[in-house]
């Protein structure tokens, strides 16, 4: 277990800048997700932490000690890959034993055939640790199989077992669930979280799936265009995003964005409806509202439109409403059945609206204002 600290990490391939100065402090035992759309540099960042790739500038510190220039093998980090990357010619038990064999046995003991006679105590301790890891992930019966004879979920567990069989300073997970089907993914999510709780180790988890990030992490670092836009707890990221891109990326269904204007007195209005909100002066703004902040109403409707599409989720309905004044449909969650084609009114509490400026930055200087 260790703290992981990133200081001004930059990476460029030829002319393309992949990472533009990443700073991040990860506490001991913390579960941090790096989340963002593909191509945002999150995997590159993880590989730099792992030591598989060198940074153009900046440094990685483990427990406060810089590991720049240190080989991946010497950093004592474990990694789980998206493709699991199990050795196809080794059985499950041998796969799990590899990191221990490379560390606990010397060159001669690792030799095929001859090595078997020289391992002795070290070999026994390895076998015991492999057994322990296998039990933790409930893959005991699979130990003699080869990766080719197992399902994706089973390989996933073997990859996890191989990562946790030694006590690494931190676990790095690179989209470990993306090759699993939806049901198994949800299940494995819980298991990884439990594993984290049990081990109390530092986890750095890369994913493009915001649901995974939200459900598993202590903190989420939302990355886009080679930068960390925001790094906060899942609740904070969801409720109080500091950038429109973060607000749009996190949450499903997607957050509703409504164009808004502030006049010279700073009064904010959306098309067809003034709001009791005040900005400091004239500005082009954007109002973002989570689907659960909107509700269907007849009496206090701020916007009116036609139901364009209804998705029955069982416990609720996700309704898309086309509002003539707005470029995109609004999405809201409701427990009441809605019928496609119905004209409906939409209301919301202006206090729950997140206001962003034209550049996508959060406007914190908006105050509620009661109409005189």
């Amino acid at each position: 277990m260790a703290t992981v600290t990133l200081r001004g990490i930059q990476k460029s391939f030829k002319d393309a800048e992949i990472l533009r100065g990443i700073d991040l402090d990860i506490a001991e035992g913390e579960f941090v997700s790096l989340v963002g759309p593909s191509g945002c540099g999150k995997s590159t960042l993880l590989r730099i932490i792992a030591g598989l790739e060198g940074a153009t500038a900046g440094e990685v510190l483990l427990d406060g000690v810089s590991v720049s220039g240190m080989r991946a093998a010497d950093r004592n980090l474990s990694m789980v890959f998206q493709s699991y990357a199990l050795y196809p010619h080794l059985t499950v038990a041998e796969n799990i034993a590899v990191p221990l064999r490379m560390r606990r046995l010397n060159r001669w003991q690792r030799l095929p055939l001859v090595g078997g006679f020289m391992g002795g105590a070290a070999a026994r301790s390895i076998a015991a640790d492999v057994q322990r890891a296998a039990e933790m992930l409930e893959i005991g019966p699979l130990l003699d199989r080869r990766p080719g004879e197992m399902s994706g979920g089973q390989r996933q567990r073997v990859a996890l077992a191989r990562a946790l069989v030694r006590d690494p300073a931190a676990f790095l997970l690179d989209e470990p669930l993306s090759n699993l089907d939806a049901k198994l993914r949800a299940h494995t999510r819980t298991e990884i979280t439990e594993l984290h709780r049990k081990l109390g180790a530092t986890f750095i988890y890369v994913t493009h799936d915001q649901v995974e990030a939200m459900t598993m992490s202590d903190r989420i670092a939302v990355m886009m265009g080679g930068e960390i836009l925001q790094c906060d707890t899942p609740a904070q990221i969801y409720a109080d995003p500091c950038d429109l891109r973060v607000a749009e990326f996190v949450g499903s269904p997607r957050i509703n964005v409504i164009p808004a204007e502030a006049d010279k007195d700073g009064r904010i209005s959306i098309p067809g409806c003034p709001l009791p909100l005040r900005h400091t002066g004239r500005a082009t703004l954007r109002l973002a509202l989570r689907p659960e902040a909107l509700f269907l109403t007849e009496s206090s409707a701020k916007l009116r439109g036609k139901v364009a599409h209804v998705e029955n989720m069982g416990h609720e309905f996700v309704v898309q409403i086309a509002v003539p004044e707005l470029p995109d449909c609004l999405v809201l969650r409701t427990s009441a059945q809605a019928v496609v084609g119905d004209a409906v009114g939409i209301g919301f509490d202006p206090g729950r609206a997140l206001i962003f400026d034209a550049m996508g930055g959060r406007c914190r200087n908006v105050t509620a204002q009661v109409f005189a």
Partner: protein, 319 residues
């Protein structure tokens, strides 16, 4: 209809390829007279034949005559002579197949040649793998300046025919005093551009994640080559082994150049020359028997490798 046509073409191709083998096998079973007259069908009549060389060698001398006279006193010299002649003929009469195959082993030290062939081909293959695997690994999985240029050079080397560099190679080895040695047979072939090329193409299908996982597990680059890349590359290695071993087992050109005197260093194809036309005409039967014996290990090795080859493919479960 097209199916029949395809099979017909394949059958003709198969016939063209197999016909020389059939002739070889057939000649290795026939007596010299059958070979010369073209009779005896595929397997020869296997009628007992008289080994003329055996007869020539066992011409009774004075000592034998004296011994025979002493053994059976009172008989005329002609009778004793006829008796001896009879015994000699009986001893020198064999079946053609037996004659050919025993000749193959007695006329020349064929076992020695086979052993030489084994030593040379195995040494070449092992060293080729030791060179080609790390080279191919570096050319696929490592990033360094000039990598593409290095690979282009490898491809270029594929275009150079052996015969073009034979003379400089020979001169170099001669200057080093290495002609007439195993080293001369092995060294020129240890770096195989084809091997590097083949392994590189195969390594490109090995996911980078596997290499990275090995690095995370604490392996150095050489450990990755031998512990991860080698086992995953077994099918490709077997394909390469088939090419390499057949080429060098059958090679006549190069051993003929560098092995000039010492018969103990002859490889099997050089051994075949022993049966070339001498004063008493070519010994086609024993020659073909030798050829058959030389070819058998290759065919056996190929059949074994073919089995492993398929197993190897079935084993690879990367994704």
């Amino acid at each position: 209809m097209t199916q029949i046509l395809k099979h017909l073409v394949l059958l003709i191709g198969g016939f063209v390829v197999l016909a020389p083998f059939a002739v070889m096998l057939s000649y290795s079973l026939k007596s010299p007279s059958e070979i010369e007259t073209g009779t005896g069908g595929l397997f020869g009549a296997q009628a007992p034949m008289l080994d003329t060389m055996c007869m020539a060698r066992s011409q009774p001398d004075r000592a034998a005559m004296d011994a025979a006279r002493a053994a059976s006193p009172g008989q005329t010299d002609d009778a004793i002579m006829a008796q001896l002649e009879q015994g000699r003929e009986a001893a020198c009469t064999t079946r053609p197949a037996v004659f050919n195959y025993t000749k193959a082993f007695t006329e020349a030290p064929l076992l020695r040649y086979l052993l030489n062939g084994l030593i040379v081909t195995v040494s070449i293959f092992v060293i080729q793998v030791i060179v080609a695997l790390p080279a191919a690994y570096a050319l696929t999985k490592l990033r360094f300046w000039g990598r593409d240029a290095a690979f282009a050079l490898v491809l270029f080397c594929l275009l150079i025919p052996v015969n073009a560099v034979a003379l400089p190679l020979y001169l170099g080895l001669a200057k080093l005093g290495l002609t007439n040695s195993y080293a001369a047979l092995v060294i020129p072939w240890t770096i195989s551009a084809f091997g590097i090329f083949l392994m590189r193409q195969f390594f490109q299908s090995v996911p980078d994640d596997l290499v990275d996982a090995a690095r995370m597990d604490g392996m150095g680059e050489f450990a990755i080559v031998w512990r991860v890349m080698l086992p995953t590359a077994i099918p490709a290695l077997i394909a390469f082994a088939i090419f390499s071993i057949t080429a060098h087992w059958n090679d006549y050109f190069w051993p003929r150049i560098v092995i000039t005197g010492d018969r103990d260093l002859f490889t099997p194809p050089l051994g075949l020359r022993e049966f070339q036309a001498g004063a008493d005409g070519s010994l086609y039967g024993p020659m073909m028997a030798t050829a058959t014996i030389i070819v058998i290990p290759l065919i056996a090795a190929f059949l074994l490798a073919q089995r492993r080859f398929i197993e190897g493919i079935a084993l690879s479960g990367m994704k």
